[in-house]
């Protein structure tokens, strides 16, 4: 860990990174936790930790992946510490802006809210953060085949929930 955190240039560089990635980090944290408050705490803590070890980041090009990893780890840490209750669909209206007027969007968000964590996270990583299957596999510790299967099943489950999907979701390939 770097001991010297008083470099103003580095602070500005870090601030620029935060400005660029924070919105999607918040969204990712939200879809991990399905709680706006928790997502804010997760991102806040993650960015503090990221700043503390920013000097150790050698490849600035990998900053996005590095931040996502820290957010994921921080979510797990906070989740474990708080021993949170299972998120109920009743929380949906509270957590997702009830003012959203697009019914299709609301239905999709509700379906995402209800999707199992094991399907929701790789989907968010792929669609929201643009991660490749290999990157998702590396982050989640899963074989690429498993990631592909989960992505496929996640979409099928969403389509089913929206009333436009196939009846069967198929089995999961590879091992988790």
């Amino acid at each position: 860990m770097s001991a010297d955190i008083s470099d103003l240039d580095r602070r500005r560089e870090f601030d620029a990174l935060v400005r660029k990635f924070r919105p999607d980090l918040f969204r990712y944290a939200f879809w991990l936790s399905r709680s706006r408050n928790l997502a804010e705490d997760v991102v806040q803590e993650a960015l503090l930790r990221a700043w503390q070890s920013y000097g150790d980041l050698k490849e600035r090009d990998s900053a996005r992946q590095w931040l996502v990893t820290i957010v994921r780890r921080e979510h797990a840490r906070i989740y474990e510490r708080k021993q949170l209750d299972t998120v109920d669909i009743a929380n949906f209206e509270e957590e997702i802006a009830a003012s959203e007027s697009d019914p299709d969007l609301q239905r999709m968000r509700r379906a995402l809210f209800q999707l199992d964590d094991g399907y929701r996270e790789p989907l968010a990583l792929q669609v929201l953060l643009g991660h490749s299957v290999r990157e998702i596999g590396g982050l989640l510790g899963l074989p690429e085949a498993t990631v592909l299967t989960r992505l496929h099943r996640a979409r099928n489950k969403l389509k089913q929930a929206l009333g436009s999907g196939p009846e069967g979701a198929g089995g999961e390939g590879g091992s988790a």
Binding site: A3, L8, V18, R27, L47, M108
Partner: protein, 217 residues
């Protein structure tokens, strides 16, 4: 969205299916992109972590990675002997508190939240003009102190309430692009008021805060 590595669903492909898939993907991408709070969370009001959380964090860091005294001094947990330097080090330790130059009025810390921080820090704050946009109870030189940020003319201005730090005369702060002063209070103790170079309201904020602070007995 990123189209890399898209899995190929079974069942072949027709123009209708393709259009439907595109609509689905567009809807999925939109659904995942929920609204992000404007000023979250560096400048927005948020819960203050309890004292034990910081103490545990400091202790955990010490045990886990063997942080040096130098590191602790850099974070302001313990003093270096140079009060001005310790104040700037503490500001660096919480960069998110001053990330945004100007925040909207709705980012003001709720009064109840501010009072909680002040109460834990043994202080009171009377009415004052500058908007408080961040407030937290922080370890500083071995004590828990109120650390808050008010909105200046062009950027954030950090204020530390230091009931246990006595200074004989104003101590100027000029380090790493931060300027300000640590001044004693007639009621004892001192306050540090530090902004970025060029901040026009520093003196005014210092006077207002100094007049508003009361220590709890």
């Amino acid at each position: 969205m990123n189209g890399r590595d898209r899995e190929n669903p079974p069942g072949g492909s027709t123009p209708q299916r393709h259009a439907s898939d595109e609509q689905f993907e567009e809807l999925l991408a939109r659904a995942l992109r929920i609204d992000v709070p404007e000023a979250m969370p560096a400048t927005a009001p948020r819960r203050s972590p309890p004292i034990f959380r910081w103490a545990a964090l400091a202790a955990g860091l010490l045990m886990a990675v063997g942080l040096s005294v130098r590191m602790l001094q850099n974070t302001g947990y313990i003093g270096t002997g140079d009060l001005g330097h310790d104040v700037v080090a503490h500001i660096h330790h919480e960069p998110l508190a001053i990330r945004t130059p100007v925040v909207p009025p709705e980012a003001a810390v709720p009064q109840a939240e501010l009072e909680t921080v002040l109460r834990e820090a043994g202080a009171n704050l009377g009415p004052m003009g500058p908007m408080v946009r961040y407030a937290k109870l922080c370890p500083f030189r071995g004590k828990m102190v109120a650390h808050f940020v008010v909105q200046g003319a062009s950027g954030p201005v950090t204020v530390l309430l230091l009931p246990d730090e006595e200074v004989e005369r104003p101590i100027p702060v000029d380090e790493d692009g931060f300027i300000g002063t640590i001044v004693s209070l007639p009621i004892g103790g001192s306050i540090a008021v530090v902004g970025e170079q060029g901040e026009a309201r520093l003196d005014e904020i210092q006077r207002e805060v100094a007049a508003a602070v009361r220590w709890r007995l």
